[in-house]
């Protein structure tokens, strides 16, 4: 099978093109360097099966960042039949040097000049034919967002692929060294084939930035925007969650409850009260998560994240981090794992390590599920959003504290230079793709972690035979008793401590575990929760869940990315210790004050 590699700078719409070409789902971010994992897909082009690989966005083939090294080592170690380079039409002066670098390596790329619609609006005219002739390689003007020029692009791709002779990876190694002539060559090409107004004016972007990047208003507006996002998630998400829960219950009453007459009581209890209700309750939170990712995708695609980096850099610098670290924290609100991988854009190891130490404190969507569940059960609808917002503040505070504590040991002189992309209207197609991506991600996790976790908890809370389900004498209560000396001082009951133990693997299991353990769901479950904890205990429990460790996947990613057991160990020990101390201070403090 022939292999096509897509290269380009960050922010050129590489991922959008990739999605168009392959129809598979990958995330698109306006923030430079978001595409970090190597995304691959198999697709049919002109009747032939091909493999398409989306390489990370890079500025320079000879650079020193991890992403640049990833691309270099990919090209040096994998035979590539065709390189497709995506360029941003309004920045050819900036982007052609990379194209020339690739060309010089003998890879005969197909150049796709993307965002031609945007360049048109700015009054930039590109003579693709003459540029193609000068470069001696195909140049096609496209807009991956609208799909303009996609047919011409695939045609050019197919035609070029027939004639191209793949460069052997070993030959590339010899060629990959810096060349200054490239830049002057690129400038010559731009002056010959591109005409653009002497002063580029992006009126819309400038007008918006005058407000959003305002020296005084910028930061408050940013926090307001974030607050609105979370408020929307809660106010729209809670009814959605109830609707799904209602549907699942309807199905249960109609299809599953009659089985009680057929199946032995213990089998029915396990399958319906344990497994179905457990997984079902977790599933009822999927709409909330999808909604959250929709909103994050909109923020990300609009280009606002780079503004967030600009606004927060001064604060982050004091903590030894930079604006990108803040953006990664925000990305971590979705899921910590991609946020950790996003730190690959950082060149300095100590800055990367510090960022990776901080990211696990960001309140990911899996923890959000648990918090929505608990706040709904224990607080009034009026209080709940504020408790939730308090959790987000605690998440930031923990991250900042961690940076302060470890920042001195992990100093760096990493330059902070980021591209500020113009604002772009998020594309519905991409946002929907993202939602679908999250559903499939959930189903994948559900089929492994959640089901296993729910079964395990059901077993722990129902055996040995003869014990009261969910009560004394079960394996779970024995384990709870062992942990009592540690968890009692922070107000966590022994039965909930088993949940914490299971939640170590993944926070998605937590709710399912509580359901399986109690055999309750819906309103009955909520009132059960009020017998297990009061408001103060609930907050202490949530603080502990927020801080103690995100999940096993996050730990594995930390280890994989840092390649250091010591770093991962320190991170784990710090978060466990911090979780306990914070919960202890909160719980004992609140009790001492008489709450």
């Amino acid at each position: 099978m022939k292999r096509i590699a897509i290269v380009g700078m960050p922010n050129t719409g590489k991922s959008t093109f990739f999605n168009r070409l392959t129809g598979s789902s990958s995330r698109v971010g306006n923030w430079p360097g978001v595409t970090v994992e190597l995304l691959g897909a198999h697709t049919i082009l002109g009747g032939e099966a091909v493999e398409v690989v989306d390489l990370p966005g890079i500025y320079d083939l000879h650079g020193f960042s991890d992403d640049e090294q990833v691309v270099r080592s990919f090209l040096e170690n994998n035979a590539v039949d065709q390189v497709v380079m995506i360029l941003n039409a309004s920045q050819l002066d900036h982007q052609l040097p990379l194209a020339l670098q690739i060309h010089k390596l003998g890879m005969q790329p197909v150049l796709l000049v993307n965002m031609i619609d945007e360049a048109d609006q700015l009054g930039i005219r590109i003579d693709a034919e003459s540029l193609s002739a000068s470069l001696n390689c195909p140049v096609v003007l496209i807009s991956a967002r609208n799909g303009t020029g996609m047919t011409a692009a695939t045609d050019a791709l197919l035609e070029n692929m027939q004639s191209v002779t793949p460069v052997q990876p070993s030959e590339l190694k010899a060629h990959l060294h810096a060349d200054d002539e490239i830049v002057s060559h690129a400038e010559l090409l731009v002056s010959q084939h591109v005409s653009s107004p002497s002063l580029l004016v992006r009126k819309m972007t400038e007008r918006i930035d005058r407000v959003l990047l305002h020296p005084v208003l910028g930061l408050p507006l940013f926090f307001l925007a974030m607050f609105l996002v979370f408020q929307t998630v809660y106010t729209l998400g809670a009814p959605l969650q109830e609707a799904v829960a209602w549907l699942l219950e309807l199905f249960r009453g109609w299809a599953l409850d009659p089985l009680a007459n057929v199946l032995p009581a213990s089998v029915f209890g396990f399958l319906v009260n344990g497994l179905y209700d457990g997984v079902g309750t977790v599933a009822s939170f999927v709409p909330v998560i999808i909604l959250f990712f929709f909103l994050m995708a909109i923020v990300e695609d609009s280009g606002y994240l780079a503004r967030a980096a600009y606004l927060t850099d001064a604060l982050m610098a004091r903590l030894g981090l930079d604006g990108r670290g803040f953006v990664m924290l925000l990305m971590g609100f979705g899921c910590n794992v991609p946020a950790l991988m996003g730190t690959r854009v950082m060149r300095s190891r100590s800055l990367r390590l510090l960022s990776m130490l901080v990211i696990p404190f960001s309140l990911c969507s899996a923890r959000l599920q648990v918090f929505i569940f608990i706040t709904t059960a224990l607080f009034t609808p009026k209080q709940a959003p504020y408790i939730l917002f308090f959790m987000y503040l605690a998440s930031f505070a923990a991250a900042f504290l961690t940076a302060l504590v470890f920042g001195r040991r992990l100093k760096s002189d990493e330059p902070f230079v980021l591209e500020l992309p113009p604002y772009r209207k998020p594309v519905l197609f991409q946002v929907l793709m993202r939602g679908w991506h999250e559903i499939s991600h959930f189903l994948r996790r559900a089929s492994t972690f959640i089901i296993t976790g729910v079964i395990l908890v059901w077993w722990l809370t129902h055996y040995p035979e003869g014990s009261t389900p969910g009560g004394a004498g079960t394996y779970a209560s024995m384990m709870g008793d062992w942990m009592k000396p540690v968890l009692d001082p922070i107000g966590i009951s022994s039965i909930m401590s088993v949940v914490l133990l299971i939640g170590f693997v993944a926070k998605e299991i937590v709710i399912g575990a509580i359901v399986a353990m109690t055999g309750l769901e819906g309103a009955a479950l909520n009132s059960y929760m009020t017998t297990q904890m009061d408001g103060i205990q609930a907050i202490s429990f949530m603080l502990f869940i927020l801080l103690y460790t995100p999940c096993l996947s996050t730990l594995a990613t930390q280890l994989g990315e840092s390649r250091s057991w010591k770093f991962t160990g320190v991170s784990l020990a710090w978060s466990l210790g911090l979780a306990w101390v914070v919960s202890f201070c909160f719980y004992q403090g609140a009790r001492a004050l008489g709450y």
Binding site: H62, Q91, D93, A309, D313, A317, R347, P415, E419
Partner: protein
């Protein structure tokens, strides 16, 4: 901050006043950092303009078709002369 007379004390990008333009004459940094700044568009001979700056944090620079945000510390590595 007060608007200063740019031409006289002008030496590096971090000291260029907001709204002013200047020509880049060089980058003084270790190889890896210099390569990175160059790849982002900060190359000798290009004209740079300061769009806005934060009081303590980074500044927004326009070079050619690219808008960048960078810290003063890094902008200080870029030497300039006033462009006509």
């Amino acid at each position: 901050m007060h608007m200063e007379q740019p031409q006289k004390t002008l030496s590096n990008l971090s000291r260029l006043a907001t709204g002013e333009t200047a020509c880049i004459t060089g980058i003084h940094a270790p190889d890896d950092i210099r390569l990175r700044l160059q790849a982002m568009g900060l190359r000798t001979g290009r004209v740079a303009r300061v769009i806005r700056r934060t009081r303590l944090g980074p500044m927004q620079i326009r070079v050619g078709s690219v808008d960048l945000i960078m810290r003063r510390r890094d902008a200080a590595r870029v030497t300039i002369t006033a462009s006509q």
